[in-house]
Structure formats: C-alpha cells, structure tokens
Amino acid sequence: MKSALFDYTLRLGDSSLIIGHRLSEWCGHGPVLEQDIALINIALDLVGQAKSFLEYAGKVEAKGRDEDALAYHRIDRDFRNILLAEQPNEDFAFTIIRQFLFDAFQYPFYQRLAKSKDPQLAAIAQKSLKEVTYHLRFSSEWTIRLGDGTPESHEKMQTAINELWAFTGELFEMTETDEILIEHGIAIDLNEIKPIWEQKVKAIFKEATLEIPTTNWMQSGGKKGIHTEYLGFILAEMQYLPRAFPDAKW
C-alpha cells in the first residue's frame, strides 16, 4: 500500500511539475504581455501543486527525501508524469491545446480527489481545484478564440490537436497502483473521469469548430517511467543548477 501511495503521489506531482516547467519556458516569450503573465501564473500554480505532492511523496516514502531531492535528483526513468506534460511548447496553439487537454482532466479529477480517504491528497486536491478552475477557463477560452479565429489560427489549433491526441489515452490509463489504492478509497477510478473529460473536450471543440481526430492509437509509458525523448532535455535544464552546486541557496 505504501509503495503504491508513493507511486501515485509521485505521478501527480511529476505531471504538474513537468507541465509547469514547460509553461515556464514561455516566460519573456509570450505573444503579448498579458498572456505571457497568464502562462507564468499557471506555471507557478502547477509548480506549487507539485511541491505539495512531492513533499508528501517524500514523507510517504520515509527515506529522507524532500520535494527538492525528488524534483532535482531523480533520473528520467524515475519520473512518473504523463507524456502529454512533457511535449514541447512549439507555438502558442500547441501550448494552449496541451493545457486545455490537461486542465479538462484535472478539474473533474481534483473534484473527486478532494474527497479521497487520504487526508493529505484530499487537502492538496481541494487547494489545487480552486486554481485549476482559473486554468481551465483560460485554456478553454483560448481554444475557442483561436479555433474559431482566422483560417491560420484554426489550422494551427487543429494541427496541435492532431499531434497531441495520441497522448490523451494515457490520462485514463490505470496500473496496479490505481487498483490497490481504489480499493482503499484513496485513488480515483479514471474510468469515471473519462466520459466527463470527453464531454468537456467535445463541447469546447464544437464551439471552437475543431475536430476530434478519428485515430484510436494511443501512446503510453509515462506512468511507468518510459518517456519520450523530450523529458531528458527538460531535466537537464531543470536539474543543472542543484546538481552542479548541490548546496546552492538563494
């Protein structure tokens, strides 16, 4: 049970950390100042949520690792984030679609996790839900605005969907970890989230005049530590400083 709870908490923390780090790459590069700030605010929320999850994961593991040790001193194979989170920013359309697919999952997921029998996961979820509400509104509005925008913005959005769709199957993938924790009332049955997510995505895409791809093939691996080639580069950047200067302080 304990190792399952560690794995589960790590997965939640890693997904928020990696997508948060991705968003932070926009700092100073946003298309306009307001949206630059918005992306960085969302990044900050996500990294903050990751801190709460990883801090708890360290306590569950009870081997003396804190959130920094877990974030900065693990290799890619030990990361449990979903592959969607590590996909590159590409253009603004790509970033928005990645975020929308992620937020549309997080919102109903945290609503349920807020009632988990694990009090700390429930507390983090309650807190995160308030923040994710703003994220989902932001990414939904931009999906509609750009999807139903100019022919060029529409095409960029549709391209992003086509490219990222294969990573959405993993959102609902469950492993032994989930089975064990669902039995204890701790984890959330992702089969319950799937129809809610699909409904949200369909509704927003419809308003945005965007199409859901018909291909059914889904990429998988992140929850087991098998990542795309992008994660290594993220970690190289994210972990460089604490690895090169182990006791560095602000």
């Binding site: 918005a38 969302i42 996500l46 903050g48 949520q49 801190k51 309650q126 807190k127 509400t133």
Partner: protein, 163 residues
C-alpha cells in the same frame, strides 16, 4: 516577562505583512489559522493563499523573527492546506486597506463555479469608483490578482480575485 496569550501573539502578528502587498497584515489576510500554546512551545498554524505563492517562505521567516523580537520564545510555524484559503477570510479592515492601496478587493462570496464561463463580475475602479471597467486578464502581477482597466479614468488596476 511578556504574558503569553493567543491575543498577544495575534496582535504581534499584525506587524507581519505580505511582502507582495505590504499594506496588508497576514492576520487581515486570513493566513493565520490557529495558535497553539503548550507549556514550552508556541505553534503558529498558517495556510498559503496559492499553492505556488512565493511569499510563504518569507512570511514564515518574518513570523519567527517578529515574535522573537517581541519576546516570544520557542516558536514553530506549521503550514496546513485544508481547509483551503479563501478570499472570504479577508477581514473588513483588510478589504479597506486593499482599496486604499489601489487594489480592488474581491467580490463577496467564493466563486469557484462562477469562474467557469460566466460573465465577469462588476468591479469598481479603486481610483474613481466607476463601474465602467473591463477585465484585461484573469492573471495579474501576482497569483492572487487579475488585471482590469477603468474606461472612465483610463487607469489600469489590480483586482484581488476570488478564490
């Protein structure tokens, strides 16, 4: 020797402000969730506004330093996440201070659901009190604020958004 009571500690903590909104004390922000007194320890229980609030570390250090300077020994600061902080915990005095500082205080009542696809709230301009204002972005200079502009006096301003 200072008498150690919860009231005395709370009064001292009013000197600690949020580094990002220096007019607002952490007491008026509703960050102090509890004060526990045991025989040889003072425990101050705080909660963050946002998960990623970068001010929390500084606030914790400030609490320890301020209490110590005012004669309180053996202080410990603990952070809790639940119940999650809400703008409803801002005190009346805090709301007034925000307004005077040029930040529109949050509308009353926690919004959550309201945020998802509904009309933006009417927010009065803290400079000229006009309600002819427009939201520019849900996200502002810090996690807790949204950006607005006033169509009458043409000033941009921060709105302390509901959470």
């Amino acid at each position: 020797m200072k008498k150690i009571t919860k009231e005395a500690i709370l009064e001292t903590l009013e000197k600690v402000t949020d580094p990002e909104i220096p007019v607002l004390s952490i007491v008026d922000m509703g960050l102090i969730r509890d004060i526990q007194l045991t025989e040889n320890q003072i425990e101050v229980v705080i909660t963050p506004t946002y998960s990623g609030c970068p001010a929390m570390n500084v606030i914790e250090i400030e609490i320890l330093a301020t209490l110590q300077m005012n004669g309180f020994e053996n202080v410990k600061v603990t952070t809790v996440l639940s119940p999650a902080w809400t703008t409803d915990w801002l005190t009346e005095r805090g709301r007034q201070q925000l307004l005077e500082y040029g930040i529109a205080p949050p509308a009353r009542g926690t919004v959550d659901k309201h945020v998802l696809f509904q009309e933006d709230r009417v927010v009065a301009c803290p400079q000229c009190n006009s309600i002819n204002t427009k939201m520019i972005s849900q996200f502002g200079s810090t996690a807790c604020k949204a950006m607005y502009k006033c169509n009458d006096c043409l000033e941009p301003f921060d709105y302390f958004k509901c959470i």
